[in-house]
């Protein structure tokens, strides 16, 4: 606990200094890092502990982005972000009431379906009602304001994760992840806990969306409801270790750096390495990067040695008469 806070504040202090010395490109890269760090830590907060795999992150992100873009002309920066998060959380409550009794693949597919539904409903509304497809943001805050807000959100996401892990709410979510029915018979109001957890995740995604909308200055449904944002959040959390506190954060940094460097030159290579890393992690490191220890390498070495010995044994038999 104390150690976690210490790590968090030293990382935050370091990130705080970035805009002062780094290049424009580095700041933009750091912003992406922070964005995915926030998204995947808050995703893990609910989905990692309850094992409800939600693919709706891009829906909440998009809702937040749209809300932020529309509201920023009328209200202040921070209020717009808070409202973006609140509206996303409200949508999550409705969505959660509808689909959180489903488990596993059904839940994942339905959250993805609802994301598409929201995406297309907004596209339709834009075309029919307002007669436009995208929006140009006229009021845009300074680069440093955007960066610092995102940093604050990332710190908040980790702080909330630390607090929730130590609370009854966190215990209830862990119980749901381990054996939902057993948790119910021990007195957990699982429906309430699930909807609240889902809404908490959505609030962060919505707030992140509201912050990111000003980065793009022009937004349309296809950009902000891009399912890739949702998928990448899930991949980062799984590769990093969704059940851990720091895993999603480490993976967010690794992935964002990979993404920014590779995507520009060789986009296919980025997607390929993403897929490969996921497969390797699921097969050989189910606890994610955060579960990696020095012993893990030892175990792998032993595995390879055993495999090599097995491979050679039949050959030795052949030599013997």
């Amino acid at each position: 606990m104390k150690r976690d806070l210490l790590i968090l504040f030293s990382l935050a202090g370091w990130a705080l200094a970035v805009p002062h010395y780094a290049s424009e490109f580095a700041v933009s890269m750091a912003l992406t890092c922070l964005m995915y760090a926030t998204l995947s830590s808050s995703w893990s907060l609910f989905c990692g502990s309850t094992r409800y795999l939600s693919l709706a992150t891009s829906a909440f992100f998009g809702i937040g982005a749209y809300a932020g873009a529309l509201l920023l002309e009328h209200v202040s920066w921070l209020v717009a972000i808070a409202l973006g998060g609140t509206i996303a959380a409200a949508v999550a409550v409705l969505m959660g009431l509808a689909v959180l009794h489903l488990r596993g693949t059904y839940f994942a597919v339905l959250t993805f379906g609802m994301t598409e539904l929201i995406h297309h409903a907004i596209t339709y509304w834009e075309k029919q009602v307002t007669g436009t497809v995208g929006r140009v943001l006229t009021v845009v805050p300074e680069r440093d304001t955007v960066y610092l807000t995102m940093l604050a959100l990332a710190v908040a996401a980790v702080l909330v994760s630390i607090a929730v892990r130590r609370s009854r709410f966190g215990l209830a979510m862990a119980g749901i992840g381990a054996d939902e029915q057993r948790a119910q018979t021990l007195g957990v109001n699982t429906r309430l806990v699930k909807v609240a957890g889902f809404a908490l995740t959505a609030a962060f995604a919505g707030a992140v969306g509201a912050v990111m909308s000003v980065r793009w200055t022009y937004i349309d449904p296809a950009t902000v409801f891009n399912p890739f944002i949702g998928f990448q959040t899930v991949l980062i959390a799984l590769v990093g270790g969704a059940a851990t506190l720091w895993g999603p954060l480490i993976a967010a940094v690794v992935f964002s750096l990979l993404a920014e460097t590779l995507r520009l030159q060789v986009p296919q290579l980025y997607m390929m390495s993403l897929g490969l890393l996921l497969i390797l992690c699921v097969l050989y490191l189910p606890g994610g990067l955060a579960s990696l220890r020095w012993q893990t390498f030892g175990l792998w070495r032993d595995d390879v040695r055993d495999w090599w010995r097995d491979l050679r044994r039949p050959a030795e038999k052949k030599v013997a008469p």
Binding site: R168, L171, A172, A174, G175, A178, D179, Q181, R182, A183, Q184, T185, L186, G187, V188, N189, T190, R191
Partner: protein, 248 residues
């Protein structure tokens, strides 16, 4: 029994598609009773338990706890009303420690309920079920018979008035079965719990309970003291005949 029964099932039926697993069963349980439920495989014992603990909502019929209607409520509401259960195959949280497993119930259903000093905290519950030495081990690492005890400890942590035990003695060695029966009697006597105990091994059960309910093909065919039940012609016919007379 004055006023309301602790738990009452009125004409409860549970159907799965065309199959009627529990058929129009009524039963009332008074405070401090030790009741056994027996029946051949597929008689609907576990399904009846699932209905009594809210895990399955009955297709028809009503459930009341101390006069309060509970039909269709979520399982956590049953737990809050003081109805606790164990599962036939132990469903402990394998990655948590034994201690944390017990603590779970105390954090939720047992949190605001008054309790006997025997259920004061995690340590006293562990002491009661005899797992103090295993407290720090992960629940997945203890033996299956210890896991059965832990199941009971988890249920006790909700500080119940009524405890539903689903085949807690199945697969235990002779001496362990006797110890389990002693523990169950002790829970009833010292905690004043109502205990409803399903067991496949009729002989063990008959020795310890004061009242037996016999289920057969989902229906209740007998309800009375062990001595009465074994003389019931329908029970003898439906059930296993010899084993029954042996038990009496």
């Amino acid at each position: 029994m004055n006023g309301h029964a602790l738990l009452e099932a009125r004409e409860v039926s549970v159907r799965f598609g065309g199959l009627t697993a529990v058929d129009d069963v009524s039963a009332a349980f008074a405070p401090g009773e030790l009741v056994g439920i027996i029946g051949p495989n597929g008689a609907g014992k576990t399904t009846f338990f699932n209905a009594l603990s809210g895990v399955i909502a009955p297709t028809s019929g009503e459930l009341f706890a101390l006069g309060r209607r509970l039909t269709g409520a979520a399982p956590h509401r049953y737990a809050q009303q003081g109805i606790a259960r164990t599962f036939q195959t132990p469903r402990v949280f394998a990655s948590l420690s034994v201690q944390a497993n017990v603590d779970f119930g105390l954090q939720f259903a047992g949190r605001n309920r008054q309790a006997s000093w025997l259920l004061k905290d995690t340590a006293s519950i562990l002491n009661l079920i005899g797992l103090t030495a295993q407290a720090a081990l992960p629940a997945g690492a203890i033996t299956p018979s210890q896991q059965r005890l832990l199941e009971i400890g988890m249920a006790l942590a909700t500080r119940p008035k009524l405890l539903l035990l689903d085949e807690v003695a199945a697969g235990l060695a002779e001496s362990e079965v006797e110890a389990m029966a002693q523990l169950i009697r002790r829970l009833r006597d010292e905690l004043d719990l109502t205990v409803i105990w399903i067991e496949h091994a009729v002989t063990t059960l008959m020795r310890h309970v004061e009242r037996v309910i016999v289920l057969h093909q989902g229906r209740k065919i007998a309800d009375g003291s062990p001595a009465e039940v074994v003389r019931n012609a329908e029970v003898v016919e439906a059930y296993l005949g010899d084993e029954m007379t042996e038990a009496a």
